[in-house]
Symmetry: C2
DNA sequence: CAATGACTAACTAACGGTTGTTAGTCTCTA
DNA sequence: TAGAGACTAACAACCGTTAGTTAGTCATTG
């Protein structure tokens, strides 16, 4: 019980302040216990971070399968745009999104490898969703005859760019960027 | 003399470790003096960071005017691609690029406003370079009849995405993304 | 049924180390 | 002879961590 609370509060602290700028005092305070009591549940700060990372990884994989994917009955552009929109919304609104942004971009040295591994896992999960859509689109002639890798790469760059812009620009500017980027991307891949 | 050395070494430390994870001891060591001697040149850590930020801002503005811009004799796609390539190369290879990446996306709270101001200034500088190119392109019919804002927004998202990917993926993956993203972007705005 | 022992999870106190910062001193140079 | 710029020594505050204690819970046992 307390263990789960520690993970949750730590997630939000790590997401907002990064690993090194989050102190055990802050975590303990938010949980409502004293600092040394944390050691009843975790071996130390690194163990807390690891637990948070594992938790986030598991939850992200699940979200990817359930929330991001959309019914295949839609047309290709609706389908793609749906994924685009859902994924960005998830990154924007969830604490996991902010956490991911923090730690993938400037990871604490001792976790760099593990974080990269988790991130690539999540990315692969998304790739498995969008590749078939691109391929189907090419087959039915709705998309240009670009390689699937090209489309996937461009799609990711798009998402990464917005991912990054989301917490920097005011919401209205961000919305403009989101719409504009999609429009140009779609014109770029559409047959 | 020493003052300038402090700024330079601090720039690289702030760029690589962030503000909070850079200690005065580290700076002093790299400069080759003892920690308290820093106070002969700056009021404190915050003052050092401010000086670095000002320095970077000035240098970035100059780079933007000289290195990024390319001769207008080229065709529109060469011109745009030149800017794209030059700007990304600058962000990738210069210490200022890494510094910018660090501090714009996860700024130390007390500098958030100032950093944003500087960033938007640099961005505006780039906007002044690319907007006329888009408009010229539309006039000559080489580009689609999209609004200039749409093109500019999409261009920035593209750059921001690669900006992020550059220090995360291995160089080869990054190069793939860079090429693919440009291809789709160009197909998206080309008439 | 009552008592014992093990376990969990909280606590206080304190550790050594590092942080940014200040005070005061010495030395070279203009 | 000033002053600039280096130094040493020390500060309080905070860091992650450890040790040792205490209270409550639960299962096993006489």
């Amino acid at each position: 019980m307390t263990r789960q609370r520690i993970i949750e509060e730590s997630l939000s602290l790590f997401a907002n302040h990064g690993y090194e700028n989050t102190s055990l005092t802050m975590i303990a305070e938010l949980v409502g216990i004293k600092k040394p009591s944390l050691y009843n549940h975790f071996k130390g700060k690194e163990a807390i971070f690891s637990a948070v990372l594992d938790d986030v990884a598991a939850r992200e994989m699940e979200v990817m399968q359930t929330e991001i994917n959309v019914p295949t009955s839609d047309s290709i552009d609706d389908q793609l745009f749906g994924i685009y929109k859902n994924y960005l919304a998830h990154l924007s609104n969830s604490m996991e999104g902010l956490f991911f942004k923090r730690v993938t971009f400037f990871p604490p040295d001792e976790f760099a490898e593990e974080i990269k591994r988790v991130f690539l896992l999540v990315e692969e999960c998304l790739t498995n969703i969008i590749r078939p859509i691109f391929e189907e689109g090419k087959k039915t002639g709705k998309l240009r005859a670009l390689s699937t890798d090209t489309m996937t790469s461009a799609f990711y760059t798009l998402i990464d760019g917005l991912f990054l812009e989301e917490n920097f620009y005011p919401r209205e500017v961000f919305e403009t960027r989101k719409q504009a980027s999609w429009k140009v991307f779609w014109l770029g891949i559409q047959a």
